[in-house]
Assembly symmetry: C2
Homo-oligomer: 205 residues x 2
């Protein structure tokens, strides 16, 4: 399956569709987009579009075979083959490395790398933190395509440059800064401080 | 200063305006929105609107007095009086508690609360984690208006209910779930797994 265009909100609904299918009684074989939309409180048009994007098996008046739909949804997520590493193994980097929820959407966080380290450390979760000089070899070996920057702002540009040398062009940046990037790099900034502040501002709106 | 409507992107530009003003040579007294936009690579209309929202002191052809503008920007951030607590002091909760960047936008994360705790623990940063039964008293004493849910999904609803009992109506939820809420509660979900997956999906778009 090729990667295809999907909005963040559609992607976010997939785990709810999977949970809902799993919650159905055994005797139910077919489900309709209308029913799913109603049960989950989503818009019917949204659900229809989401499912049509992921499966071609829906039939008018019958809906989807529940098992075929479940397989399609799972295949959609797991075929994306995202392999990520974290750079910067402070508290945030370690928390992200240990977070088990990432694989819900078919993306694996494999390991972290840190400057202040002479040899590999293995965490309770079984995942490792390596010295940063082992990064290039690791990325080639494990087909890493995403780099997560969890360093302080002042190191973030150097980290991005290093990730690019490792042929990584998708960057998720937790450092509150703006980075210069080659044209073929996509950076997604995750500014937690800004998110919290914006929530606070909403209270009076 | 009252809280006022501001978009997340406008709010996000304020720290850049402040950094830019600080970086100006001493002899520069006035700055224009045009110049700021050009130097920071933002759209001129955006910058004009942002500054007009925060300061009424801009003059045609002269621009803003740099010190007055800096004061207005700082006052805008610091007058929002956001006081947050974290519920759930696992790795993510602790990482958030120790993250020093939140105050950039005038919002303080004061303490964390956890179920598995009999007495207060103080972290290196000086911030504390308390048993959850001390939450209500703490919130009243410190005027807490934001609750950050950093527990597993299965506890999140109970935590939201408890926060509401503490009169907290702004919720920032890191648990990957959907919560039922009273009409006067605002929930902002932070689904890190979804953000990472979406970045991965973007590579083919």
């Amino acid at each position: 399956m090729e990667k295809c265009k999907i909005s963040k909100s559609s992607l976010g609904r997939i785990p709810y569709y999977l949970d809902y299918i799993d919650s159905l009684p055994d005797e139910i074989q077919n489900i309709s987009a209308t029913r799913i939309a109603k049960e989950l409180g989503f818009g019917e048009i949204q659900v229809r579009k989401d499912l049509a994007l992921i499966s071609k098996e829906g039939k008018p008046k019958v809906g989807y075979d529940r098992f075929a739909l479940k397989d399609s949804l799972n295949a959609f997520l797991s075929n994306q083959n995202g392999n990520a590493i974290i750079v910067g193994a402070g508290k945030l980097g370690k928390a992200l490395l240990d977070y088990s929820g990432f694989e819900t959407y078919g993306t694996r966080v494999l390991a972290a790398f840190d400057n202040n380290l002479d040899e590999e450390i293995t965490l309770q979760s079984g995942k490792s933190i390596f010295p940063v000089n082992q990064m290039k070899e690791f990325c080639e070996l494990h087909n890493v395509n995403i780099g997560i920057i969890a360093t302080p702002s002042q190191s973030a540009q150097a980290v991005l440059n290093k990730l690019y040398e490792c042929n990584i062009k998708l960057i998720w940046c937790f450092a509150p800064c703006r980075l210069y990037k080659p044209a073929d790099v996509i950076i997604q900034y995750e500014n937690l401080a800004l998110s919290l502040a914006h929530l606070n501002f909403q209270s009076n709106q």
